[in-house]
Amino acid sequence: MAATGSRLRVRRENDVIQVEFVDRNILDEANIQQIGEEIARLVESQPRPKILISFANVDHLSSAALGTLISINNKVRARDGQLRLAHIDPQIVEVFKITKLDRIFQIHDSTERALASFG
């Protein structure tokens, strides 16, 4: 099913782009691809981007979504930017740990802590 409309809620505060997901379940390839494209445009919208992705309200995440997050992380690094993930349900944090992706991403309990961690 083709996704229509933005899959993200975006807020810019100071120099940090804060992103939240519209969907509670990030599972479908079409939606995941759209999410990746939308966040990629945000990454490219400024030099040395600071991106905070909040997973508040996300109940389920597929491994395909993890792949898209990796791609986003690579784009952020290529622009000498910073990426933080925040407010992830403990069950989904476990998914990051099982896949050892907690070694790649900086994951914070809350948006506040994630914001404080930006250099």
């Binding site: 099913m1 479908d28 389920h60 597929s62 491994s63 395909a64 069950q91 992706l101």
Partner: protein, 145 residues
């Protein structure tokens, strides 16, 4: 979603196409069955994740090159201590032993390849047969859940 009802209400055989509505209906049915048997939220999360990954593997990898709406055959049975899920795809098969370990340092940033790892992490057993076109997963209720 074509269903052949079993005599046991906590089990079903389905022909499933890659439609979110039908997949969500499956999750709802299995979740309800698990709830009736007192499985915890953690168990329901685990089974749902593994089934979702197995279906994604079947539809996106197993059926590569086939018409997009090619269905899989899925059966599930939820019992008081054990849950069984079997998915059969219509593709040419694959060798699950050839899937690289995505947790190795050199593979950590690969864009895909984590579905099988997650299935094995969350289910008690994951077995492939018929050249990899059939996956049978079981989930044994944890001692405390």
């Amino acid at each position: 979603m074509a269903a052949t009802p079993h005599a046991h209400p906590d089990a079903a055989q389905l022909r499933l196409v890659p439609a979110r509505r039908d997949i969500d209906a499956l999750h709802e049915a299995m979740g309800a069955a698990m709830g009736r048997h007192g499985y915890t939220e953690a168990s329901r999360f685990a089974v749902r994740l593994a089934v979702e990954e197995a279906l994604a593997n079947a539809f996106h990898h197993g059926h590569r090159g086939l018409p997009p709406q090619t269905p899989v055959d899925l059966s599930y049975a939820v019992g008081p201590g054990l849950i069984e899920v079997t998915i059969k795809d219509r593709g040419p098969g694959f060798d699950p032993g050839a899937v690289p370990d995505p947790t190795l340092e050199t593979n950590l940033e690969l864009p895909s390849g984590r579905g099988l790892l997650l299935m094995r992490a969350y289910m008690t057993t994951v077995e492939f047969s018929e050249r990899g076109t059939v996956v049978r997963m079981t989930y044994r209720r944890p001692a405390k859940g």
